[in-house]
Amino acid sequence: MNLTLKVWRQAGPDQAGSLQSYAATDVSPDMSFLEMLDEVNEKLIRSGDVPIAFDHDCREGICGSCGMMINGVAHGPMKGTATCQLHMRSFSDGDTVLVEPWRARAFPVIKDLVVNRSAFDRIIQSGGYISASTGAAQDANALPIPKADADASMDAAACIGCGACVAACPNGSASLFTGAKMSHLGLLPQGQPERFRRALKMVAQMDLESFGGCTLFGECQAACPKEISIDVISRMNRDYARAAVRQADERVGGGAG
């Protein structure tokens, strides 16, 4: 099939960008979206033009590097799928496809479709971990964890940090990302000692990074390639509210619930 791409081109962070048209020809339905872009870039290189810059790495939907707005939808039309796993069979001959970078104040464009997502790393730095220095651990089976808790923790831990939730949110909120990490750790007994301190610090960092607030649109959950539930945001809000009341009191009442 043949497609027309309208791609956001921007030479640098401080330069103005614009949409440019490219023809993607002889596209096979078995290609991934990124392989289709590879072919377009291959032609651009051969003709001496600068190819379209985009982040990508594993191309298996797990590293979280790739991500673009495809026809206005984060990661494109297929639910629960990162851009690298989106295949061209989702498109039809003659389609015009609009390709843009994540649009969010906290994710400034570096070049073309490449954005700076380092704000996510700083949110993790603020408290998205369990302080367990190497060597201090007890036997792994010394503390049984109910399967349901471990499974729920894993559901939240599946986040790949791609940023689609932020890009999809009308407010540019990072609540799904932050809530997912707080739920992953907060659902485990090992995560309890730092649970409320974590809530205060991560939420504060999220605000500092100029992400917007959450008004429960739910767009994040729909865009998430790992289909992380918006429930993690309720959990974050609950932990934050309890922590704000207790402030410095870091004791935990009542287990991993």
Binding site: L34, I45, I62, C63, G64, T81, I130, T134, P144, A150
Partner: protein, 638 residues
Amino acid sequence: MELDSKIPAGPLPEKWDKHRFDMRLVNPANKRKYTVLVVGSGLAGAAAAATMSELGYNVRCYCYQDSPRRAHSISAQGGINAAKNYQNDGDSIQRLFYDTIKGGDFRSREGNVYRLAQISVDIIDQCVAQGVPFAREYGGLLANRSFGGAQVSRTFYARGQTGQQLLLGAYQALEKEIAKGGVIMYPRAEMLDLIVVNGRARGIVVRDEVTGTIEPHLADAVVLATGGYGNVFYLSTNAKGCNTTAIWRSYKRGAAFANPCYTQIHPTCIPVAGEHQSKLTLMSESLRNDGRVWVPRRQEDVAKRPGDIPEADRDYYLERKYPSFGNLSPRDIASRAAKEACDDGRGVGPGGRGVYLDFADAIARVGEDKIRERYGNLFEMYERITDENPYQVPMRIYPAVHYTMGGLWVDYNLMSTIPGLHVAGEANFSDHGANRLGASALMQGLADGYFVLPSTIGDYLASQKLEPVHEDMPEVKAAVGDVQQRTNTLLAVQGTRSAASFHRELGQIMWDYCGMAREAAGLRKAIELIPKLREEFWRNVKVPGAGAELNQTLEQAGRVADFLELGELMCRDALHREESCGGHFRTEYQTADGEALRNDEDFAYVAAWQYAGEQSEPVLNKEPLVFENIKLSQRSYK
């Protein structure tokens, strides 16, 4: 070159303990005076950087991705081995040690592998303490699954995303240390050369991928945790950015490269769909716990729908040839068996390069829900890529390049032949011999990063008198100048072919002549073809754009240039090793029933290649492998 493995004396189970006592320590107050550079932020790199920072060292960590959380360790699916014996099925440190040595076809060091098996149990404890959500039983205890090459259940897992969860554990520990100020992180930064001063590794040359700035970073020791070089084949299961540049540049500065030809071809990947293919996708080996591998018994049935082929006309060839391990035979054996079936004209799918992995029996036995719980995300991934539903039709799989057992030579302390240059994880050669067992890469990366390096690097630092280094030293200026010149050359060629097109061509040469089956004539041919391709590359590559900006084509071209050199060394190594062992299968050396035929008399050694300049062939150094505790035998999985 002298290769001293520095394996401590004494009985195998006591070597590591004894060594830890014998190693010199750095006083806690002095640790902050030392700076260590860690290149790579995967399991080995992130774990090492975080742990060394916890100990008090100044650490700087580098990754080419936009965040350390994206390192390719994240793609590992199936699990991580540990000799916990939680299943009470007869596992022990001794058994994990033996399985690993045997799985590696008796081409690894006893001392290193035993230490790995010992440390394996601590890794699981550490990861659970960090909040890694491993799979659990209803009683709340950890679950295990089986993996190829083992008859016990010792693999811990987090659905099909074990690598992701382990990496996030290490990444979070790293971010915790970054917040404390112990680690400075440099994302979107690529190491392009090693700086050696007075014979010791004292820094690296780094290109900032966003601004294009090329600068030296100086330190007291350097750790490379930059992963494997499977992308030399162009098509592999590695992430697109995985490359050999850091270890290759270090090789050219004097670090020996060990066993470059030992490549692992993973048996269960999604077959190539067409010319556009940019990478291959793995389907976890854990699928072989429940999936049965087969091809039609007769060539004329290959085009039939699998459901139309009756049981009697199917050849479950792994179960037939290896009745005791069956579908769980090790990766090298399962891959070669698939190739043989396809070479025999019985392969299925496009181009006849595929075999079935069938879950019908398992679904009938335990139900679709149970299978979904075990492998749901893998089945979904398969369907997204192929548009086929594996609950209803068998998967089609084919072997693909997955892991490289070779890497920079290191001693027991994980130090290369350049003092101060340490190498961890897949980037070194140390523990897997000629074939790595499933779920052992994560184990080795974390063993090196959390437990081995943080101890041994202290011993190195405590035993050196390191002179101050500064940016004006001639060695530093020369290394930076080399990188600048190379970058300028790549931009100046302005030929007609993209770096990717050279990469594809190199990959085809490597796959044809240095892939799953190798023979002398083909290897000689590759050794002729690769220098010609390299010559054309430097004359005809086209890299648009400039150096002082984000230029992904320039990054790619630099990596391809290094692969074009490495590929030749791999072929030389494969040609010189006149035996078959593990992932290295020379068609001239096989048993009557087609199994790998080792030659322990002449080849029970590590081949450590030493760079000798552009005009000379590399020099082969040999480290004999001494087996004091294990009797070498022909591997049998029958």
